[in-house]
């Protein structure tokens, strides 16, 4: 019996090493389950024993990987600069290896979803702004009935439009996105029976904010003047 137990134990460890996880193996007919358990849980339990031994180490490595990834993805600018300077001093091969390791971590972060750079309300705008997005047709120019520029109910504003602000924030900083959005609007609002859309116009409106002291002095928080600029006009694609 001891020989059988020893054989199964060895096979169990081998399986775990080969497969990387506990592998189901048919027990020899002569080995009774109860006997095996009494003698230290072999057979189908041999792999769990092995796994139990290495599990803390594997999980610890996983913990370090995840926390390290979050810290790596959120390195402050000066740390990135120091790292880059360090890489510049290395031989090309060593620098490549370090860069490759960094790429692997970034790739893991991207796949697992730990790649976010955490910033909460970091930068505050000193002016209020909004886009007015218009469609130019043969019949004239019309303001498109989009969420942030048309009358909305409380429910629509509160629950359904909650991603619009972030989208406009991205539109503000991203000209290719505005172009892609213009193409989408052309597709969306080119309806049969309506004049065809010739182009989409992005008009930026903005108004400077007063300082808290000036706001108290004047009883309002914006300057009286509001400014308008046409940022883009994207022709409708044929």
């Amino acid at each position: 019996m001891q020989q059988i137990i020893q054989q199964i134990k060895c096979e169990g460890i081998k399986d775990s090493l080969i497969y990387g996880f506990p592998h189901q193996r048919t027990q020899p007919a002569t080995a009774k389950r109860n006997d095996l358990d009494k003698n230290g849980a072999f057979g189908s339990n041999a792999h769990p024993m092995f796994w139990a031994k290495i599990k803390p180490a594997v999980i610890s490595a996983f913990i370090v990987l995840n926390l390290g990834t979050v810290l790596f993805m959120n390195r402050p600018g000066p740390v990135v600069q120091v790292t880059d300077d360090f890489l510049d001093k290395l031989s090309p091969l060593a620098a490549y290896r370090f860069s490759y390791a960094g790429w692997l971590i970034a790739e893991y972060a991207h796949k697992s979803g730990l790649d976010n750079r955490w910033q909460m309300f970091g930068r505050q705008s000193r002016f209020n702004w909004w886009f007015l997005i218009k469609a130019k047709t043969d019949a004239g120019t019309i303001d498109l009935p989009l969420p942030l520029q048309s009358p909305r109910t409380f429910w629509q504003r509160t629950f359904f439009d909650y991603k619009e602000a972030k989208f406009h924030l991205n539109l503000y900083a991203n000209q290719p996105l505005r172009e892609a959005y213009a193409a989408y609007l052309c597709r969306q609002y080119s309806l049969p029976g309506h004049p065809p859309i010739r182009s989409i116009i992005f008009e930026l409106h903005y108004q400077n904010l007063l300082s808290p002291a000036d706001a108290a002095k004047y009883g309002r928080h914006t300057e009286l003047e509001s400014y308008t600029q046409v940022w883009d006009e994207f022709p409708s694609s044929p």
């Binding site: 909460m120 930068r123 597709r187």
Partner: protein, 317 residues
Amino acid sequence: MKYWKRFFFSPFDPLPLAMFRLSLGWLILVCYLCLAPNWNAYYSDHGVGGAYSDTWSIFYYTEGIIPLSLFWWIGLAASIGFTLGYQTRACTIILYIIEVSMIHSNRMIVNGEDFTFRMLLFYSCFTDLGKALSLDAWVKAKKKPITSSDSSAWPAAWPIRLMQINFVLIYVISLPNKMVDDVAWLNGDAIYLSIVSNMWSRWPWPGLFYGGVLSKIITYTTVIGEGTFPILVWFDKTKIYSIALLASLHLGIAIMLQNVTFFTLSMVATLWIFIPGKMLRPWMDKVSSKGVAEPAAKEIPGPENIQRGAKAKPVAH
């Protein structure tokens, strides 16, 4: 090494996890309902962000095979299952996959809550959030009643510890960033600027913040709250005050600012995992006695107890 083991490998009280699951699940469920009218416009290849998608998305690989709108229904069903604690682990994994797909399908409409949900769901995949206050626990308890000393059924702490540390890191990382990025966090004008912003504010009385006194008070309270939380939350005596302060700040944001409501509420929901189960249990006992594993732990092996050399016991928070 033994401190590491005690911190990461002790069982974790399932009751705070259950509260966390209920709060997060409800929030995700509401998010799905809110996304309903715009789901296709946001996430389809021909939608508003078609040019800003990448391939790490189940939507991409199933395009033309599974209708996009079906994923909304799957997500909705999974969020209901997650909230109720029915097939919790499976629902968690489904929600994580869909959340990742949403983010990768349109980077241009990703809000803070998307990143928070993704991070929380990622770690939740490695644990069972349905050990208490759930249909799973209820069914299990019917088959085999859980006794007061049955802490063997508690989930391992390490995924929750990862979640806790990652949550704390959000403040550790973002606070210095905001202090460097904008002087308004140093001179106390940050809250004023948020309150008078046409994009973020829904506060109907901005006049209260004119002059800047109230803004300075709230701005510095925010900085103190966010700055001290990563330290104070680990100590028994200060934990609850730190959590209360942070929860108040986030609830204040939810009331005063628009478009960040789900993000800020997701932060509040996560605070449950820091609350000791022994504090919640008296409340819960009044609500339900079934499906809740009662505590076997008397001591909390947080850093404070580790310093005192406390012996390893199941984690009671």
